[in-house]
């Protein structure tokens, strides 16, 4: 069965989409990622779409779903590497990606994830030691 591999890097999961995804494959990625977050307790998910030549409303919805599901499981999703032509087309298509954080590339995406994680730890620390 065709699958998109999910790599684990410490507290984060990393997915690189390198194929032109048909709809079933996109749905499978959504399911696999949700399971993997629950299984590993990952705090962040990075999805690299730099090889994706288009994002249509279906793929956009899958990305937004992944972001909402991961949030419920206490993980933050960041989508990185969107090609400029894809970004221009998305805006004209009218697709917003609610709740999806984006970053220019993998490095910046990692900064975003580390930043959210640090903030979350700080907030939890604050709860434990109220001033």
């Amino acid at each position: 069965m065709e699958r998109i591999p999910i790599l684990r890097m410490g507290e984060f999961l990393l997915v690189t989409i390198q194929v032109d995804m048909h709809d079933r494959l996109a749905m499978r990625l959504q399911d696999d990622l949700t399971e993997k977050i629950a299984e590993t307790g990952a705090r962040g998910v990075m999805i690299d779409i730099s090889s994706l030549e288009i994002v249509d409303s279906f793929i956009g919805r899958v990305l937004a779903n992944i972001a909402s599901m991961s949030r419920v499981l206490d993980a933050q999703t960041v989508v990185v590497g969107m090609q400029p032509a894809v970004a221009i087309t998305l805006v004209e298509l009218g697709l917003e990606l609610p709740g999806v954080l984006t970053a220019l590339n993998v490095d910046k995406g990692m900064e975003v994830l580390r930043g959210t994680l640090a903030k979350a730890v700080e907030e939890q620390g604050g709860d434990r030691h109220p001033t």
Partner: protein, 134 residues
């Protein structure tokens, strides 16, 4: 308008949606479309092809290179024999869907192309023609 190149493909399932995207990309590149224009046309094709599969129960697409005067363009005509759309104006509105989608397919695709035609009658199927000019 003259048709300078033509190909017919069937669209029965999601794998064929991917094939149509790839073919539309190839033809748009052959026509010398910019990367942004290629992406817009391929995205519009993907939206309409999915509608053909999901709502129309499958159908066909005619891919054509067309020439009008000194303008060249890519025209895709999607035809299905599905249940048809009873209110086309409503179906074109953003956010309207009878399925589980986002309701951006038709209206979104219309914004991504230069010419958009839709002809649909309940019980007789739907025909959507999209054209993008170079």
């Amino acid at each position: 308008m003259i048709v300078t190149r033509h190909e017919s493909l069937r669209i029965q399932d999601e794998d064929e949606i991917v094939k149509i995207r790839q073919q539309a990309r190839r033809w748009a590149a052959d026509l010398g479309f910019s990367l942004v224009d290629q992406t817009k046309m391929v995205t519009a094709a993907s939206e309409i092809a999915r509608n053909t599969v999901v709502y129309g129960g499958g159908g066909t697409v005619d891919i054509e290179m067309v020439q009008a005067g000194d303008r060249q363009g890519l025209r895709l005509s999607f035809v299905d024999a599905g249940p048809g759309i009873s209110d086309v104006e409503l179906a074109l509105r953003d956010g309207y869907t009878t399925g589980s989608g986002l309701g951006l397919g038709l209206g979104g695709a219309r914004r991504l192309v230069n010419d958009f035609e839709i002809d649909s009658r309940p019980g007789q199927g739907t025909r959507v023609v999209i054209t993008r000019w170079k």
